[in-house]
Symmetry: C2
Subunit: 470 residues, 2 copies
């Protein structure tokens, strides 16, 4: 519970209309898109500007109250679950696009703006903001920055981090700093901008961001290649890159995912294929044409059973939408869907997919795999039921093995979802104790009272998905 | 002087052949490419592997000995001057390219490899490592990473930071960590990779790096546009970008620089132009042709007095080489050359160049300006003489005003040279006291004894270029 004095101060800062400690109000923000990490906050606050955030942070520091900044809560690592209570900070008053600068190719936004709105606003001007996380219709830019969101276009265009040029951040001490700017080059001091990107709200609260834009590619083409053999699909991916073509999208779906997607979206996907690749290229029309021709050749050389170009933008869009619906499609099948994002070097994809299949078999689990093959970023997705304690224990073990395999193959425990609470117990696998200690030194330096989204990134104990009975 | 016990330990770690505390040996490493910051180290050590570095760091921590990692010392911010004595760490035993991975498009190198060697090695395989700092024929990759070096191709391709995918780093506590990897996506923990990039050796010692490669563009074309009017050149830059073309290079030289370059390289540059733009585009042949045609049109629309395409690769190369020779050409003219790199948003270039001209006039100084116009990254270069104390004081004031103007225009005090000792007193202009404090918190967290390149980035006092007599 919030200390009465602290509550008085919060009310003074934001007004009663922006402070909610009712049980319904708190319940709404007790969970995010990640299953099994529900935890009640003590209050929900909607500050109206950065000065109010700075004041709130000072009160939180004084009373040692955790602060959890939250956009739309679409993250998949329990990054916005108020694990240790405290206040959830909402950004509904930070929903403005402040400027599109066509000369410097930047957009400056408040963190509460929906990702899709950014995309729409810049595309109307012939410009392009490439990061496209799966949840972009709902997710906020602030959330994307805090989680360093990826998406389907990462292979060619990179991730959110690559487009954040400058930030305004409220630090744990209540100071407001500006990092970077509309600058193609800036080496004045440590790269604080990129340190905050992906720091999951544990180092400061982002109140404004300047993002890089690029010219809108002239055109885009989409093809779908079907395989009777997983290996062949993986080899196609490697061969495309090795032939010096970097497609915008190189998505992979295995058969179980394909079935679920088709059942969900009914666009006539062939459910008997063992694997499909959804491949897109963008750029100047003649180059796209050349690249796509070459890609089709490679697919055929690698024994694709069928390669089909989308004949219209509608058809291409249907394919993309179907791919984007993979999670929703799978989520219908069982009460609980656990979506992971173990990532490996692109060359190791076939090995990784096979390992996932074997691990699923070993633990008798249903794991479907889809993801961004060009990035080596796979989404093994387990269809399960949290009420089945025994099965969940097997799920836990299976994912631990999946992470271990990813690390062995030179990969990482999370490519784009973040660590949050969910993957904190596994982070040491990737970074080692010394790496975690380095992160901890930075965290302690910037947030000595550990009020900024505590319980995230740094593992408190071995609690994983299995709730230990007391 | 190094404590005798510490010296014994160093000798035990690296052997007598890799330890030098002779006065000649120390003198060689008492300065770098930056004028006026000479300072003697106590010893020069050449470790043979990362374990030796870890051992050296532990000794330094015990005896509080500063460590200055040094590549070729080509930096322009006195980043490798042993300001506080201690040991200079050389990387001559770290000169191997460890792997070029054509499937994952990466190169893994030791930090002592020369930048140009990386370029040559990957180009032989049809791949491309875009960062091309002016000193790339001499500079090392380790130095580039520590300084986050830029170059002429930053506009389209970004800077060193954008190509560092993973690092091996010896921390101040002697622990060795690995960050990132051959991964297009990785959000496991704070972005330590990019925190180390550009941290100027103040946070750790880089012992290995995995760099991102891209396919080699098919072709490149070069044009030279001459202007009687500075503003027209600047407007051309803005108009090219606004017409959604991102050239690989968009370099600017003012008349005094042009004269010096022509006198130096004698390739027939017209020295009566008030400004020239060297513009290059790369990519697929047909697209380059289209872009170059459109760029030539824009140059003409903006009243270029002449626009000329390089007729052969030799001619293009002569132009590029001439541009790269700008610093050397200017350096011949007066005993001391002070090259700065104030950077502004691209849209503010004309204002910035004018302000530099006015400031030069006000302080009666000879300042030539050239630089990366597409990045807003200018190199105002003062031709002076350090022995003229009175003039150097004016130089100091002029540059302070130049930095202030850059900040006012939304720019930064350094676009690609780094802070080092030289710009430490100005860093607060860009970051504010709270920003510096945030950096300090990180620094103290990771290097509590301040042994890692001390005296860099964080201003000790107000000492600038003017040596205060005792």
């Amino acid at each position: 519970m919030i200390d009465a004095q602290a509550k008085q101060q919060f009310l003074k800062i934001v007004g009663t209309e922006n402070y909610d400690d009712s049980s319904t109000g708190r319940l709404v923000y007790s969970y995010d898109a990640t299953p099994q990490f529900q935890s009640m906050p003590d209050a929900v606050i909607s500050p109206r500007n950065k000065e109010e955030i700075a004041s709130i942070v000072k009160v939180c520091n004084e009373f040692k109250i955790p602060i959890v900044p939250r956009g739309s809560g679409t993250n998949l690592c329990a990054g916005t679950c108020p694990t240790e209570g405290g206040v959830v900070l909402l950004f509904k008053h930070f929903n403005k696009i402040l400027e599109i600068d066509e000369e410097n190719l930047t957009i400056t936004v408040q963190p509460g703006v929906i990702t899709q709105e950014v995309t729409n606003a810049v595309e109307a001007k012939g410009l392009f903001y490439p990061p496209d996380p799966g949840s972009m219709k709902i997710s906020t830019i602030g959330g994307n920055i805090n989680e360093n969101s990826g998406g389907l276009r990462g292979l060619k265009y990179g991730v959110t981090r690559d487009y954040v040029m400058g930030l305004e951040v409220v630090l744990a001490n209540g100071e407001i700093i500006k990092t970077g700017g509309k600058l193609a080059k800036d080496v004045a001091g440590y790269d604080l901008t990129r340190l905050f990107v992906g720091s999951e709200g544990t180092l400061g609260i982002i109140t404004e961001a300047t993002l890089k834009l690029i010219p809108m590619p002239e055109t885009k083409e989409t093809i779908l290649a079907l395989y009777h053999d997983l290996e062949a699909a993986a080899k196609t991916v490697s061969k495309i890159i090795a032939s010096k073509i970097i497609p915008i999208t190189l998505e992979f779906l295995d058969q179980p995912t394909l079935e679920a997607v088709e059942a969900f979206s009914q666009i006539g996907l062939p459910t008997d294929a063992k694997a499909i690749l959804l491949i897109e290229q963008d750029g100047p029309a003649e180059i796209v044409k050349q690249d796509i021709e070459r890609i089709i050749e490679i697919c055929k050389d690698e024994n694709a059973v069928s390669v089909k170009s989308a004949q219209s933008e509608e058809e291409a869009d249907a394919l993309r939408t179907a791919r984007r619906a993979a999670l929703s499609a799978l989520a219908r099948l069982k009460p609980t869907t656990i979506l992971e994002d173990a990532t490996v070097p692109r060359s190791e994809i076939a090995k990784m997919v096979k390992a996932i299949e074997e691990i699923a078999k070993k633990y008798q689990l249903r794991i479907c795999t889809f993801g961004h093959a060009g990035d080596g970023n796979l989404h093994p997705t387990c269809l399960t039921d949290v009420r089945d304690r025994e099965e969940i224990e097997r799920v836990e073990k299976a994912f631990e093995e999946i992470f271990e395999t990813a690390i062995e193959l030179g990969g990482t425990i999370t490519g784009e979802h973040g660590v949050g609470v969910m993957k904190a117990p596994y982070l040491e696998m990737k970074l080692g104790a010394a790496g975690i200690a380095a992160m901890q030194a930075i965290k302690t330096g910037l947030d000595p009272n550990n009020i900024m989204n505590p319980g995230k990134m740094f593992a408190k104990d071995s609690r994983k998905r299995v709730v230990v009975s007391k």
